[in-house]
Symmetry: C2
Subunit: 309 residues, 2 copies
């Protein structure tokens, strides 16, 4: 059994690589739900959905989010009805949000809902929300606190981030399924997701970090920073703003308490000794992922790295 911790687009790519590289029913992806929000009266779970669609082979390759070939007829009519249009939801995508919202309102836990959606798309991997309690990432900016999607999508992550907090995280509890998956995994892969707002909330669930430290499997993280920049999104500016090194080494330090190995891009090969100086094994690889074959190739390298003594 292999566990991946993944945020949105970047993390989902490697999660898909692992899914393709592994036998069916051996991968568990633990996803970030702190950027879930209510929109159009529906409960949207952007990171989980990105992982869901990507693993199912449905993701829009141009954007990384949403469903390939989706249409936007409902959204266009919603605009005519005066609804906000800054968050794009396609007709197929709406089905996911409608079903999720319906099941949540009927009393199903997010874990059960994620299983229903994954099974509906025929997924042979488990997709687990980091917790069943609502948690909300709030970004403190010079203009005041912003909900994550407000900051990320509506304002296109242009604001300076002074601080990040996860509202409700202190009431979150580690789901049994997450605890068991971590305990039983032979390898735990931290995908190249934003360490602050994608993997950060997962790691902040009370008990999760301790569970990682106690887990017997090899824990390997992949740098989302390549050549001093985030491949996608604001991770680089966030790391800098919050006082971290914008480098693979800065990321590795964040996971140092539980990590065994760290994967950095060929571009940053010169930094491998600095990673090793943190008492971590280092793997230098081509981490910038293109198509599915590329994702699978990286996943196989990482799995081999995790297996090595």
């Amino acid at each position: 059994m292999i566990v991946a911790l993944a945020g949105g687009v970047g993390g989902a790519k490697l999660a898909q690589g692992l899914y393709l590289a592994l036998p069916p029913d051996t991968l568990t992806v633990i996803g970030n739900t702190a950027d879930d929000f209510d929109h159009f009266g529906l409960r949207i779970s952007p990171d989980l959905d990105t992982v869901l669609y990507t693993l199912a082979g449905l993701a829009n390759p141009a954007t990384g989010w949403g469903i390939a070939g989706d249409s936007f007829r409902a959204l266009d009519l919603l605009k005519r009805y005066g609804a906000e249009d800054w968050f794009a939801i396609g007709d197929l995508d709406f089905a996911t949000h409608i079903r999720r919202s319906e099941l949540l309102r009927a009393g199903h836990a997010p874990t059960a809902v994620a299983a229903t959606l994954a099974s509906g798309l025929g997924l042979r991997a488990r997709l687990l929300p980091m917790c069943d309690e609502p948690v909300a990432t709030i970004v403190e900016t010079p203009d005041g606190p912003l909900g994550f999607q407000d900051y990320f999508v509506r304002r296109r992550h242009q604001d300076t981030v002074n601080a990040v907090r996860f509202d409700g995280i202190e009431r979150a509890t580690l789901p049994d399924g997450v605890a068991a998956a971590l305990r039983e995994a032979t390898a735990i892969v931290l995908c190249p997701s934003n360490p602050i707002v994608s993997l950060g909330p997962i790691l902040a669930v009370p008990g999760l970090r301790a569970a990682l430290r106690a887990a017997p499997g090899r824990k390997v993280a992949v740098s989302p920073i390549v050549g001093g920049r985030a491949l996608k999104g604001p991770a680089d500016r966030m790391l800098a703003g919050l006082g971290h090194d914008v480098s693979p080494v800065g990321v590795a330090r964040l996971y140092r308490d539980f990590l065994d190995g760290f994967v950095l891009d060929e571009t940053d090969a010169a930094l491998a000794p600095e990673v090793e100086a943190l008492s971590l094994r280092a793997l230098v690889a081509q981490t910038v992922m293109g198509d599915a074959a590329d994702r699978r190739r990286l996943a196989e390298e990482i799995l081999a790295f995790a297996r090595d003594e």
Copy 2:
């Protein structure tokens, strides 16, 4: 100002005829909301939506409900997610339900929501729910009580109807807008809708029937029964089952306390004297409506009939 009372498909056709025959902003349609229900966690208002789409020229001509040319991508995916599929909702149609549900949850009254939707589609007519309180038509059948959509759509109105009740109707109050529209109308047209479950709930709103009796405008009803049968739906079987004559005369009797004139189809011309024997003026017309021009032609005849001394 003209007021129409309309249920679903049949009523909406004449409402559209009136809309086309009248100057902009002079038609008010009072619609049935007792067959509203929750589905996929969304609030669906089938009769109001049918009127909305029909007046906006968007209705699917093949079915009478839904939007012409709509696609069913979201519904197909919802089925994969295990959702029920007996109530067909297209991608465009979903936008209406999503927006309605969002606004209702945000505290807007159904009257305000209907105005938003109508305005979004550029409608130059007012569309008023019969009341802002939830009312639910329950059909008593040999198999027990059924919610209206359950009876009508899921079970295809095959059950014998022993009784019909409108749960919550005693708590409904006549909206100010409805009362004012009735008071100010020069003519009030009861469209050829099912007298039991479409116009029945509207007429059962406390105070509405008295408001009709007190209204100074001419009140004219159009028979939904032609040649001893309902043009569409189960109105004929319902009337028979509940002890009414399945004829224009049987329908006219139901409205006799407030009605001035009654329109019956050419097929039933021989029954005109029986209608007149109820102290009602009778108009014999071609009431079976085809295209928009046909609807407008009938509407113009009815308006002329209502104007006649």
